[in-house]
């Protein structure tokens, strides 16, 4: 049965799945080689992805500044791997990112992003703040319209953007990629892409596996259309997906607004402190720019600086009140009232350019809230769980970012084992994937045969969802899934509950979904991705028979000890001949 869906076939040298930061850079990189490039984007590249509403800061290794003070690329990588990821990371991939970071920063400037400021005394007028490195390594930029600027750069490069297509299946032929299938969520058509190389840049994260405590389902820190799309596609295609068990609480929460800031070290740096109701300081605010060393160019000792930074971060995370366990100590407030006018202005600039921040400032304005005077309450909500930065989940790739099948490359947060690679991780790996696939496309063989079974099955399933008169709307199934994940796969897990959770999940997967139109069909497809993601989380959680401390919190009540002998390893879950299996991958980073 061919179904009632109209088929659109698109042949392209390089197909980029996902038009966020990584996808846009991949497209531009591949176009440098003259390849035909198509981006398939489920929303609109003008606003989609985790940077869709802007970024104000991005880490990079700046040779003119960092080399001069004796901080090498390896020092940056070591800082990130050890301080941010506790050694639980792919060092080789962070090095690849760090090496390319300055070139990508200059690309962004070439595309039209402002990143040099009169008030900076540093080389080239860059304004550096401290984020992951033991010395300031993060560049400020006027990134509110970053996605508009990038979309224009993609268009200028000659790549084609196909918006409003939710990609659903990777097509493989003899351990090589042949193309992919997607569904038009406005036109209701099924898209068949034939490609010589595919870049998977689907963002990787999701906040939709757990209930949202504010009662507003999509009041999430992460964009609400992120549903582990790429991981689900990879899983169904038999590829290993890493570290799914680290579904954990988000650290972000200001008031009830799931705004992506919350610690004085993040977007609120430097103006905010955290205080209790009596005004006692839990976390003090910091200097505006700790630039003394960078300005003088005096050599630093990276090892000393790393130890100090590690201690400071531990103190910081130790002194932050943990949401959900405030007991008699709450409420707590984010307090900018002690900041100077210069710091307040800087903070407002920073928030205004960073994810959802402009909207957050509009809300403060509407409510007559002034950071100079008023303190914002931290959210007391217990959990806002997500596959997020700290999950370091994603596809297993080699040192060249190629997945376990030929021709499929992985970019950005869809790469496994790189926690908090963030926007520079996306720019660099995106560019690298585009560079490799674009250059290989010139010599690649003709298109590989398409797996008609996969294509037909997707056609049939979508036609059924659109034509069913009975069946569950996507909200019903999403909500049932969230109940299972919160109740059977919570912060503390046990084998018996996880096994029972899998049972429930199986039953939920059997519920037929119903869509009234292509828009709802898109939401149904998202829920199907989430169901696969939930299953991967539970299976990986069952396999990891230990508990692990920060920065990768994982607690098994039946295995309370950390077991470095067997489990200082990434996990990977995959379908082998349709049967789920989990295996461990030793970590190559020195600890």
């Amino acid at each position: 049965m061919k179904s009632g869906m109209e088929v659109v076939t698109i042949e392209t040298d390089v197909l980029v799945i996902g038009g966020g930061l990584a996808g846009c850079m991949a497209a531009i990189g591949a176009r440098e080689h003259g390849a035909r490039v198509t981006i398939a984007e489920k929303g609109n590249t003008m606003s989609s992805g985790q940077a869709g509403s802007g970024i104000d800061h991005i880490w990079a290794y700046i040779p003119d500044i960092h080399d001069r003070v004796g901080w090498s690329i390896d020092d940056l990588v070591d800082d990130h791997v050890q301080v941010v990821a506790g050694g639980f990371a792919r060092r080789d991939l962070f090095r690849l990112m760090a090496e390319m970071s300055y070139a990508r920063l200059l690309d962004l400037e070439r595309f039209g992003l402002r990143m040099r400021y009169d008030d900076s005394p540093l080389t080239g007028g860059l304004r550096l703040v401290q984020q992951f490195g033991s010395i300031p390594e993060t560049v400020n930029l006027d990134g509110r319209r970053l996605k508009v600027i990038l979309t224009n750069a993609v268009k200028r490069s000659g790549a084609t953007i196909v918006n409003r297509v939710t990609m659903t299946d990777l097509l493989t032929a003899d351990s090589a990629i042949a193309g992919a299938v997607g569904i038009g969520t406005r036109d209701g058509k099924i898209y068949l892409f034939k490609a010589k190389g595919v870049v998977l840049a689907t963002g990787g994260k999701t906040g939709r596996l757990g209930r949202e405590p504010s009662g507003i389902d999509f009041n999430l820190h992460l964009p609400a259309n992120l549903c582990c799309d790429g991981k689900a596609m990879a899983y169904q295609a038999g590829l290993p997906v890493m570290n799914m068990e680290f579904l954990s609480s988000s650290i972000f929460a200001v008031a009830n607004y799931g705004f992506s800031a919350g610690l004085p070290r993040n977007t609120w740096h430097p103006a905010a402190a955290v205080v209790d109701a009596q005004g006692r300081v839990l976390v003090a605010n910091t200097h505006l720019y700790p630039w003394d060393e960078l300005k003088t160019g005096n050599k630093i000792d990276p090892a000393v600086s790393r130890r100090a930074w590690l201690a400071e971060r531990n103190t910081l995370s130790g002194s932050m009140p943990k949401a959900g366990s405030w007991g008699e100590r709450g409420p707590f407030y984010l307090d900018c009232t002690g900041a100077s006018e210069e710091e307040i202005r800087y903070t407002e600039w920073s928030i205004g350019n960073e994810g959802r921040g402009a909207q957050f400032l509009r809300h403060l304005d509407e409510e007559g809230i002034d950071l100079r005077r008023d303190k914002l309450e931290l959210s007391p909500h217990g959990h806002r769980r997500e596959i997020g930065n700290m999950s370091c989940s994603g596809l297993l790739v080699d040192g060249n970012l190629e997945a376990t099948i030929r021709g499929l490359f992985v970019a950005g947060d869809e790469i496994g084992g790189v926690p908090f690679a963030s926007s520079m991780g996306a720019f660099t790996t995106g560019w690298h994937c585009g560079d490799v696939t674009g250059s290989e496309a010139r010599t690649a063989e003709p298109f590989l045969p398409i797996d008609n079974d996969v294509f037909e099955r997707r056609c049939r399933s979508c036609t059924e969802m659109l034509s069913r008169s009975k069946g569950a709307p996507w909200q019903e199934v999403n909500s049932a899934l969230q109940n299972v994940m919160d109740d059977y796969c919570g912060e503390v897990r046990t084998e018996a509950m996880l096994v029972k959770g899998l049972d429930h999940l199986k039953a939920i997967k059997g519920i037929p979904l119903r869509a009234a139109n292509p828009h709802e069909l898109g939401r149904c497809l998202e829920v199907m991705f989430l169901l696969d993601a939930g299953e991967m989380v539970i299976r990986a959680s069952l396999a990891r028979k230990e508990s692990r401390r920060q920065p990768l919190p994982f607690r098994r009540a039946d295995f309370p000890e950390q077991d470095d002998k067997n489990w200082l390893a990434f996990s990977a879950v995959r379908l082998e001949n349709g049967k789920p299996t989990v295996f461990g991958i030793p970590i190559n980073a020195p600890l």
Partner: protein, 105 residues
């Protein structure tokens, strides 16, 4: 397949609100909303329909990229349970001890 357009409905909460007096019906917001919650009005130059208010992510790209944003054609309504909770206070005077001031260790 034609997309169905609904009347603006409140749903469980409000999210995007459009001022029909100001909106020119250019449909930029319909185009850029990555959550796809808006549908163009079948009548030309009329405001779009907020078809899926509950799927709003509150990022405000519709406001940011609206050609009539200065005139307030479109705004995001923050639902009551999302509103920022605030401790109103005074700005500390110069020289006065205030909370939260600290030095980098």
């Amino acid at each position: 397949m034609k997309r169905r357009a609904f009347e603006n409905s409140a749903g469980r909460f409000r999210s995007v609100e459009i001022d029909p007096e100001v909106c020119t019906g250019c449909n930029t917001c319909v185009d850029v909303c990555f959550m796809d919650i808006l549908v163009a009005n079948e009548e030309k130059r009329k405001p779009p329909i907020v078809a899926y208010p509950e799927e709003c992510w509150f990022d405000g790209c519709c406001v940011e990229l609206c050609p009539q944003r200065e005139k307030g054609a479109i705004r995001i309504n923050t639902p009551a349970s999302m509103k920022v909770s605030v401790l109103r206070g005074e700005r500390p005077q110069d020289g006065e001890e205030h909370t939260g001031k600290g030095e980098r260790p």
